[in-house]
């Protein structure tokens, strides 16, 4: 009992000696903290340094973050250094200290040496203007320093010399996040639908408090701060337990526990195997994770790790053979589990009844719902999302090699489920057929939730502050022909109502039908509830207060009848399509006739302007068809006025060089206009 209690009672005599002997650590610490925290204020003047204080308050000062891990590492290393030599460890364990007292004293000494300079710096900062704002960053710094002091004490318990202490400290600091990333790498390579997004990405950051506190400031989740706080006594207990079992005779060895020697060898071997495999994949010498690199990396790193562990080059013995064999078995088991999906990860689709909400994130959401993330909470929609999930699992084209067909579109997207008992995320980069028979997508596209998301009159979007209309077709800037229109604020209401009506009534079949876009609309909204940390020029000031802007771009297809009618009624349609009257000629070529290079195509020259104008309506919509190699490319030349708008391509018409801009239209091989174009070609 007394022995156990000694783990919480430092020796005042030894604490005093430690602070006396290692005074250099807090002294260097003070210098570092001074130059990172106080010197900038002295250099710039204390007045008007709110930004500096805010940076510190939000834990965005990289030096402060670095010191929070660096000084605990140094302080723990020097106070525990006596364990790394036979003479000093014998001497210390002869003196009237229990191991518990030695451990506790070392921890307290390290913490004091790390924290003292930080405390002085934060005190000065709070006195010279930071005030109460410095309280939270100081508390977080204390938390980080105690966390890493406890962690590095574990490293000192596991190792027998300073070099390995450094290495193992690094491994421990990055272990959990690194493990998540490694699992992610192998999962992504071997499991269909695996994602590092969502839960995995979240944990990769959260498992390293330094990253979490630096990257997620100031929106910390109390539960994670509580986890870090609780981790300190847990790690302290682990360190103390290791000390009580540590064999002092292993001072100077690489490791003090045989089991950790094995673990270290496995970690280094696995890391080497993974890194070399990735390097070989990057050099196109085989696919990750199984290629020559993985074998070479594993073998090399295994031997190196064994040599480091044993502090000897003579490692070719039975024990090495046994350990190598064990490693192979573990890796084989892991790869088999992933390759054959023994856990059923790929096939797992949550029961719609268990799903509270689900988000579609990525290109699928962007293409269908004009937002990078859309959330569904209605049971019917959740059921359609799980049906989509099942479709991805059962119809995984890239894996079953069923081939890509016309109408397919490559989508990178994730489904993030919030379940009753946690979270579940899957992510794919695969082809989806945009067809009317796709009931799930049709239902989701036409759902009330999706339409509400697309509602451009939603007050949450902000106040419309500017609407411009432009011609479509990418490179074809309206500036060239003066066709760009900026609506008067008086017209916002009518125009947005017409547009919203079209958006809300658009059917799935209309959406996926091949069509060109007629007009581009850009709506700027002012949002008057800006985040306090935003800096100019992201927000500005107006009579209504400070605001920031968001922009929404919408392509108007031909079936947006209400919008087009409004444009015609207001005389804008003709103006926006006026550029079509400036078409001079076009060139047509078949991509399928050449391999890769444009100069290999046989080009047809078309001068029938009316025919070219008809062809403009035969291009596909913004849902990109994948098999471009089978398409014909129509390159349309449109005259521009270069007097006002700078340099342009020049083409000769009737002996005169005319400035032009180019519009490219991709025509599928079955487009009826294609035959007419070919027939009219010169």
């Amino acid at each position: 009992m007394n022995s156990a209690l000694s783990y919480f009672k430092p020796s005042a005599a030894l604490l005093r000696e430690n602070l006396k002997r290692f005074w250099g650590v807090p002294a260097i610490g003070m210098v570092c903290w001074f130059f990172a925290g106080i010197f900038p204020l002295l250099a710039d003047g204390i007045v008007n340094n709110n930004w500096f204080f805010e940076t510190i308050a939000e834990m965005h000062n990289p030096f402060f973050i670095f010191f929070s891990i660096a000084f605990p590492f140094v302080a723990s290393g020097v106070t525990m250094r006596y364990l790394f030599s036979t003479a000093s460890s014998s001497a210390m364990h002869t003196l009237p200290f229990t191991r518990g007292k030695l451990f506790c004293t070392s921890f307290v000494s390290s913490a004091v040496m790390s924290l003292a300079p930080a405390a002085v710096t934060f005190l000065v900062l709070s006195l010279v203007g930071g005030g109460i704002l410095m309280l939270v960053p100081f508390a977080l710094t204390v938390l980080l320093m105690l966390f890493y002091t406890a962690m590095f004490h574990i490293a000192a318990m596991l190792t027998g010399n300073a070099v390995l202490y450094t290495g193992v400290s690094g491994i421990l600091a990055a272990a959990l996040s690194g493990a998540v990333l490694l699992v992610g790498l192998y999962g992504q390579a071997l499991l269909y639908g695996f994602t590092l997004n969502g839960v995995y990405e979240t944990y990769a950051v959260r498992f390293t408090p330094l990253l979490y506190i630096a990257l997620t400031s100031p929106d910390y989740e109390p539960v994670w701060l509580a986890v870090y706080i609780l981790s300190v006594p847990v790690m302290y207990a682990i360190g103390a337990a290791l000390y009580s079992r540590r064999r002092i005779e292993r001072a100077g060895d690489s490791f003090t526990f045989t089991w950790f020697e094995t673990l270290f060898t496995f970690i280094i071997t696995f890391a080497g195997m993974t890194i070399m495999s990735l390097i070989f994949e990057a050099s196109e010498l085989g696919e990750f994770p199984l290629n020559l690199g993985s074998i070479v990396g594993a073998a090399l790193c295994f031997l190196i790790a064994r040599m480091v562990s044993r502090k000897s080059l003579r490692v070719f013995n039975r024990r090495t053979l046994v350990q190598g064999g064990s490693y192979l078995c573990v890796i084989a088991l892991m790869l088999c589990t992933l390759v054959f999906d023994l856990t059923g990860y790929e096939r797992r689709v949550p029961d719609a009844r268990d799903v509270k909400s689900v988000s579609i994130v990525g290109s699928l959401s962007y293409h269908l719902f004009d937002t990078l993330e859309i959330e569904f909470t209605e049971p019917e929609n959740i059921r359609h999302v799980t049906a989509l999930h099942k479709m991805m699992v059962n119809d995984s084209r890239s894996r079953t090699n069923t081939g890509i067909r016309e109408g397919d579109i490559l989508m990178n997207f994730s489904l993030n489920y919030a379940l009753a008992g946690g979270e579940l995320a899957r992510s794919w980069s695969d082809y989806i057929t945009m067809e009317s028979a796709n009931e799930s997508l049709k239902a989701l596209f036409e759902s009330r939730e999706a339409k509400a998301q697309a509602d451009i009159l939603n007050p949450d979007l902000g106040t419309p502050a500017g609407i411009t209309l432009d011609a479509p077709y990418g490179m074809m800037s309206s500036s060239y022909y003066g066709g760009s229109v900026t609506l008067s604020s008086d017209d916002y209401g009518e125009f947005l109502s017409a547009l919203n009506k079209d958006i809300q009534s658009e059917t799935w079949e209309e959406f996926i039908s091949p069509h060109p876009d007629v007009v581009n609309v850009n709506i700027a909204y002012n949002v008057y509830d800006q985040p306090p940390s935003m800096q100019p020029p992201l927000y500005g000031q107006s009579s209504s207060g400070s605001f920031y802007s968001i922009n929404k771009s919408i392509e108007i297809p031909p079936h947006y009848s209400n919008t087009i009618t409004w444009l015609k009624q207001n005389g804008l349609h003709a103006r926006l399509t006026e550029w079509q009257k400036r078409i001079l000629s076009a060139e047509l070529y078949d991509r399928s006739t050449a391999n890769n290079y444009p100069w290999e195509y046989e080009t047809l020259y078309i001068s029938d302007v009316a025919l070219i104008q008809s062809a403009l309506g035969c291009g596909r919509n913004h849902l990109t068809y994948t098999d471009y190699s089978m398409h014909w490319e129509l390159t349309v030349f449109v005259e521009v006025d270069d007097k006002n708008y700078g340099w342009h391509d020049q083409r000769e018409y009737n002996g005169v060089m005319v400035p032009v801009t180019i519009v490219n239209i991709s025509l599928p091989p079955d487009a009826p206009i294609l035959k007419e174009l070919i027939a009219s070609a010169k």
Binding site: S6, A13, H93, T94, P96
Partner: protein, 308 residues
């Protein structure tokens, strides 16, 4: 009192101690003898609680030593390989020890400082090996330990300092009943100092004896008989008859003179040999080396290699 029972310790599956038994009486000086690698230092490190044994236990005054704070406060250990805080002078070391050891005796330290005449303000780590040993001895002895454990204590010390060191130890044993366990690879060094001797060989205790008891039963006798009385190298059978009743451990003839090692009480030796009317009959002093050699089976025993 120090008791070690059934102590077994392995380093990476290499046995260092194998069922070691060791018993040191309170207020006595125990010499632990053995060649390099016999396990002396390991045994001492277990006695001082530095190492934890695989099997067995070390106790002092009946209490287990390992992680025992109160015992450590009563114990002083001077290892063969010394360690001092890097930048500390002797005075700084002393003030550290003063805070650690409840029995610290400042007067003793002041007195020893004068006797040993070591520089007070120089870093101890800059001292020569011998000076460091003296410094360690001063610090340890000033802590007034009840148990003093010494690993090869006089290596590197000049004869005058050795004498001084032993004087302090013997005085404390006499005055305070301090219990001393001292290791050495040289039996001669231990002669005249130790009350008990244990000989360690390959991790096992070959023999553990109280020296007074040993010396009282083992005798080296130089004897010569008149010519024609059957003495000499050629008459071993007659010798067996002549020394009947005595345990003859060794017999050597040099001309007409016989050199005998006999295990028996002195009065019996005198009466048996005296009854033969020898021309010369001397009881010679027996060195510690000879005692152990004959105790363990004669000069051809492998012990010769261990203790000399």
């Amino acid at each position: 009192m120090i008791d070690i029972t059934s102590l077994t310790k392995q380093f990476d599956k290499t046995p260092a101690l194998d069922g070691l038994e060791l018993h040191v009486k309170k207020g006595s000086i125990y010499g632990l003898i053995g060649v390099n690698g016999s396990g002396k230092t390991t045994a001492l490190k277990i006695v001082t609680g530095i190492l934890r044994p695989d099997i067995g236990e070390a106790r002092m005054d009946g209490e287990p030593v390992y992680d025992n704070l109160s015992l450590k406060a009563r114990m002083g250990f001077i290892p063969d390989e010394l360690f001092f805080f890097g930048s500390y002078s002797l005075t700084e070391c002393a003030s550290f020890y003063k805070r650690l050891f409840p029995g610290w005796n400042a007067e003793r330290f002041a007195e020893m400082k004068e006797r040993f005449a070591l520089p007070e303000r120089r870093r101890v780590t800059r001292f020569s090996k011998g000076m460091q040993k003296q410094a360690a001895f001063m610090l340890t002895m000033s802590a007034m330990p009840d148990f003093l454990i010494l690993d090869e204590p006089i290596d590197g010390l000049d004869p005058l300092v050795r004498k001084l060191v032993w004087k302090y130890i013997v005085d404390d044993v006499a005055a305070r009943s301090m219990t001393v366990l001292v290791s050495s690879h040289n039996l001669r060094e231990m002669e005249g100092i130790c009350d008990s001797i244990g000989i360690l060989h390959r991790g096992k205790m070959l023999i553990e004896r109280d020296l007074d008891e040993l010396k009282s039963d083992l005798h080296k006798v130089q004897v010569a008989f008149p010519e024609g009385s059957g003495s000499g190298a050629d008459n071993a059978a007659a010798a067996v008859e002549r020394y009947n009743g005595l345990e003859l451990l060794h017999r050597e003839t040099r001309g007409t003179v016989e050199l005998l090692i006999i295990r028996a009480p002195e009065d019996i030796v005198r009466s048996v040999i005296g009854a033969q009317n020898p021309l010369i009959f001397d009881l010679l002093p027996l060195s510690l080396e000879e005692i152990f050699m004959y105790e363990l089976g004669g000069e051809h025993s492998e012990l010769g290699a261990i203790i000399f």
